[in-house]
């Protein structure tokens, strides 16, 4: 599993498209539900998942407990790892960096920002490679 993280419009998608030309894309921006990723994965050995902040945002109202929501997201990451091991697949996660500005005023936005940050931590802990995308350029982050 690999993680590409960077700010809004940093060029993450372009970098991933270039490096994983044959990948299937599972995207929250195309209205796809996170838990439906196995159907996208069925047609491809490489699966890109993008729009994690939307998938988190959709779950905020139904799950008021941050820890439980974080764990639920981490379980999806574990399921992706299991798919990789069983099918010889490759999962590529695109996560937006949103933690480098002042604390947002609204409670929902604060929760979203926290949970997105925890998702990035939990994803990075499970990934072989982590990449930072900045203004269309990409750099591998070392542990």
């Amino acid at each position: 599993m690999q993680l590409f993280i960077g700010g809004t419009c940093a060029g993450k998608r372009g970098v991933v498209r270039q490096r994983f030309a044959c990948a299937g894309w599972h995207s929250a921006y195309a209205g796809q539900a996170l838990e439906a990723w196995p159907s996208t994965a069925a047609g491809s050995r490489c699966l890109v998942l993008e729009g994690w902040e939307r998938w988190i945002g959709e779950r905020l109202a139904a799950e008021p407990d941050d820890d439980r929501l974080r764990q639920a997201m981490a379980r999806e990451l574990d399921a992706l790892r299991a798919w990789e091991a069983e099918q010889g697949g490759q999962a590529v996660l695109i996560v937006v960096e949103m933690g480098r500005a002042v604390v947002p005023l609204g409670r929902e936005n604060r929760r979203l920002r926290d949970l997105n940050g925890w998702l990035a931590l939990d994803a990075a802990a499970r990934c072989e490679r982590v990449w930072y995308v900045w203004n269309g350029l990409v750099k591998g982050l070392s542990r």
């Binding site: 960077g6 700010g7 940093a10 960096e97």
Partner: protein, 186 residues
């Protein structure tokens, strides 16, 4: 030679850019220009910011002011000189919103202007140092106009970073090299 230098507010990017422009001028000869995209006739806080930057830069700069038309400003620079452009964030907002260009300019024309700036700088042997500010690592904007601005600014950043020979991210005054003389480091 083109360099792109970006980072957070007060990260030391202008200081680094000025040092690079001085070095390039020392190596190449020619004059050293400073192209301010800020309008100087604004309010007191702006005057103070501009004054602080001007004082920090010191002597030896020919100052140009141009809020929008970067290609026209480049036309006032002698071939073989060094030009420091500070900064793209202001230029981007003025290009989209300046009242004197209302309806004439948009994102595509802005990107075309930047492409022309870079090509003309190379053609006329003007060493160009472009400074900008990274504002895209907080919460994605909720307001549609802010989205439009951020998407445009990032398009401009990606273009300049792609075309530049040297790309530097400045953090706490320390330059992090992303690219130097066409060699990307990763």
């Amino acid at each position: 030679m083109i360099a792109f230098i970006s980072g957070g507010a007060r990260s030391g990017k202008s200081t680094h850019a000025e040092a690079l422009a001085r070095r390039w001028q020392a190596e190449r000869g020619g004059a050293r220009y400073y192209l301010a995209t800020a309008r100087s006739g604004s309010d007191g806080e702006w005057q103070a910011r501009i004054g602080r930057h001007r004082q920090a830069r010191g002597e030896g700069w020919i100052t140009l002011e141009e809020p929008v038309d970067l290609v026209a400003a480049l036309g006032r620079v002698a071939p073989g000189s060094t030009l420091l452009l500070d900064c793209l964030t202001l230029w981007a907002s003025q290009l989209l919103y300046a009242s004197e260009y209302a309806g004439e300019l948009d994102e595509a024309r802005g990107i075309a202007m930047l492409e022309r700036l870079l090509a003309e700088a190379r053609r006329r042997d003007v060493a160009l140092v472009i400074v900008s500010n990274d504002v895209n690592e907080g919460m994605p904007p909720e307001d549609a106009e802010v989205w439009r601005y951020l998407a445009f600014l990032q398009r401009a950043h990606r273009l300049v970073a792609q075309e530049a020979d040297e790309v530097i991210q400045v953090m706490a005054g320390l330059p992090q090299v992303w690219k130097r003389r066409g060699e990307e480091r990763s």
